[in-house]
Amino acid sequence: MLKIENLTATVGEGEDAKTILNGLSLAVPTGEVHAIMGPNGAGKSTLSYVLTGREGYAVTGGSATLNGADILALEPEARAAAGLFLSFQYPVEIPGVPVMTFVRTAMNAQRKARGETEISAPDFIKKSREIAKVLSLDPEMLKRPVNVGFSGGEKKRLEIYQMMMLEPRFMVLDETDSGLDIDALRTVAEGVNALRAPDRGMLVITHYQRLLDYIKPDKVHVLAKGRIIKTGGPELAHRLEAEGYDGVLAEAV
């Protein structure tokens, strides 16, 4: 489903350009959930931004394909329409744009790009209500401007709300556990798990093993210095939690 081969990328321009991804290869088959763990500065967030096309990052080599199609050549909105979704580590505040307006605009823009018909207002509201209930979101919150005045936990839950509304094919979750207490973590994980499906894939980026108790990965990759240095099963996450990154990093050298 998602295939990344020998990807290199820099951040910054000209002489300040700094290589962050350094020959990263990774494959997430359809229907699987993979976790990426790594120390600070390993390139975890850069990977999520390069995949989704944020400005300021330049791909200098390698490839990334979603279901065989090159995604790196596409504009960010076209990647979204192709089914790629990023749950942001730091969700952005959009003053003046209510959540419902925002998500409905996004949904219809994606549908239009795929040649599908727009969702009707009653269908949209019905779907929104159901999902808000699953995530224990106050419906009043969805009338407020996107993320403005929301707590850290509310912002993360709103990311998952958007994800469930938009029903992407492939999801990248960047440090979704940061800023969440244990109850919120459980709610968020329930939402994420509800989206696990044979035709979907997921990449869960995290610093800690904790999240993986709730979202069980099929595989765990260790990212360090811009490349995957080790891949294993869920037990690898437990080992990292117990021993820290140093042991695994030393082994890989």
């Binding site: 096309g53 300021g56 504009e75 909105e77 003046g96 744009v97 925002f102 823009a109 994606q110």
Partner: protein, 408 residues
């Protein structure tokens, strides 16, 4: 007489000579002469005059030939609301007026306070007459809120109008104005006196072509406990000046002065305000938002004057925020607080910059195309400035939206 006046304008341009001729053709009147003299001190104001540095009428108005402009749609037209129409060909008013409203079309010209400070307002007053009233007085008495709509439109060479409102104690007026251009030079002077406890809701829509000059001057004086809520949406013209001069002259008067400007290529929109806190415990809330494209120009000049003795317990804030949507967009801002009283609350803020890259990316990651994302963020950015327009807010927002979807 006209020869002497002509000499008052130093090195007159062809357009200024035409204005002198236009004035000379009107019925002689000592007050008219005084007003034209006030205008003639500067002539068409331009960059050499303080307050007109970025809005150069002298350079922009090269000729006063009649324009054959196509009619412009009026988004503020409302069924059932009495409408006054001002064109270069004359003025029309409906046969029946709402209760509480009286019109008095006077042949002669009424004096204007502070004419020297508002040269294009003085010009509008000096050129009123002939096909239009010398002064159109509108008397609003207390009772149910009174609604009135005014349209200023072409086609023609010069469109000038002067309307003087008197809001009697406790009166409430909702007035909307559509300044649609269509003349080489359009200049309107609208004066409001708000007696004790009177309320004014004024909503202004301005649009003009790249070959037109427009000036809308408002002079507002407020008595004790009077309140005004002013909302403007301006799309600019070759040069467009929307100037408001407001005086709180008795205690407890309150003003909300909001404006949004959207300037595309070849267009300029100037929002200039002057507020004098001439009595204690008065409140002014001012918010101006703008967005400008490549080749467009936005101007904001705001001044609060708070005198030492009369301005105590003033509560005033001024905010101007502009978005430069493209390279080549220009915004000039001059916020000025002149505060001589010591027991006051005055705040101001002024920013200009590009759209936030993180916000744009967030919208695009959710599948919203770049152009639509820009339009959405810009609309959200200016929306607050239009909130005071009440029933007309949706109409203004729709115009802004259409512009943004077309422009971005």
């Amino acid at each position: 007489m006209s020869t002497a006046l002509k000499d008052l304008i130093r090195n007159p341009t062809i357009a200024e000579l035409e204005l002198v001729a236009r004035f000379a053709a009107l019925k002689a009147d000592a007050r008219r002469e005084r007003l034209f003299e006030a205008f003639a001190q500067t002539g068409l104001p331009g960059r050499r005059i303080e307050g007109w540095r970025w809005t150069d009428f002298k350079a922009a108005v090269t000729s006063l030939d009649a324009l054959k402009a196509a009619p412009v749609r009026d988004p503020l037209a409302q069924a059932g609301v009495a409408t006054l129409r001002f064109t270069p060909a004359g003025y029309t008013a409906p046969a029946t007026l709402p209760a509480g409203l009286k019109l008095l079309a006077k042949d002669d010209v009424q004096a204007m306070g502070g004419a020297e400070e508002a040269p294009l307002g003085a010009l509008a007053a000096a050129l009123s007459g002939g096909k239009t009233p010398g002064t159109l007085l509108v008397d609003v008495s207390a009772g149910a809120p009174v609604h009135l709509h005014m349209v200023f439109e072409g086609p023609g060479a010069i469109n000038s109008a002067r309307i003087v409102f008197l809001l009697r104690p406790g009166a409430e007026l909702h007035v909307s104005e559509s300044h649609l251009g269509g003349a080489a030079l359009s200049t309107a002077l609208v004066e409001f006196t708000l007696n004790k406890g009177a309320r004014l809701h004024r909503t202004v829509y301005q649009i003009g072509g790249a070959g037109e000059a427009q000036a809308v001057t408002a002079i507002i004086e407020q008595d004790a406990g009077a309140e005004s809520v002013l909302t403007t949406l301006a799309f600019g013209a070759k040069v467009a000046r929307l100037e408001t001069r407001l005086v709180h002259r008795e205690t407890g008067s309150k003003a909300t002065i909001n404006a949004a400007y959207l300037a595309g290529a070849g267009l300029q929109a100037d929002i200039t305000t002057h507020v004098r806190h001439g009595a204690p415990s008065c409140v002014t809330r001012q918010l101006t938002k703008g967005a400008v494209l490549d080749g467009g120009r936005g101007v904001f000049q705001g001044k609060f004057h708070v005198p030492r003795t009369s301005g105590q317990q003033t509560d005033a804030s001024m905010q101007h925020n502009a978005l430069l949507l493209e390279e080549g967009a220009e915004v000039f801002a001059k916020p000025e607080l002149e505060i001589l009283a010591d027991d006051v609350q005055c705040a101001h803020g002024n920013t200009s910059g590009a759209l936030d890259a993180a916000q744009l990316f967030y919208l695009r990651q959710r599948g919203i195309p770049l152009t639509q994302a820009r339009a959405m963020l810009t609309e959200a950015f200016i929306a607050q400035a239009l909130e005071g327009a009440g029933d007309l807010e949706d109409a203004l927002r729709a115009e802004a939206q259409a512009w943004l979807n077309h422009a971005a």
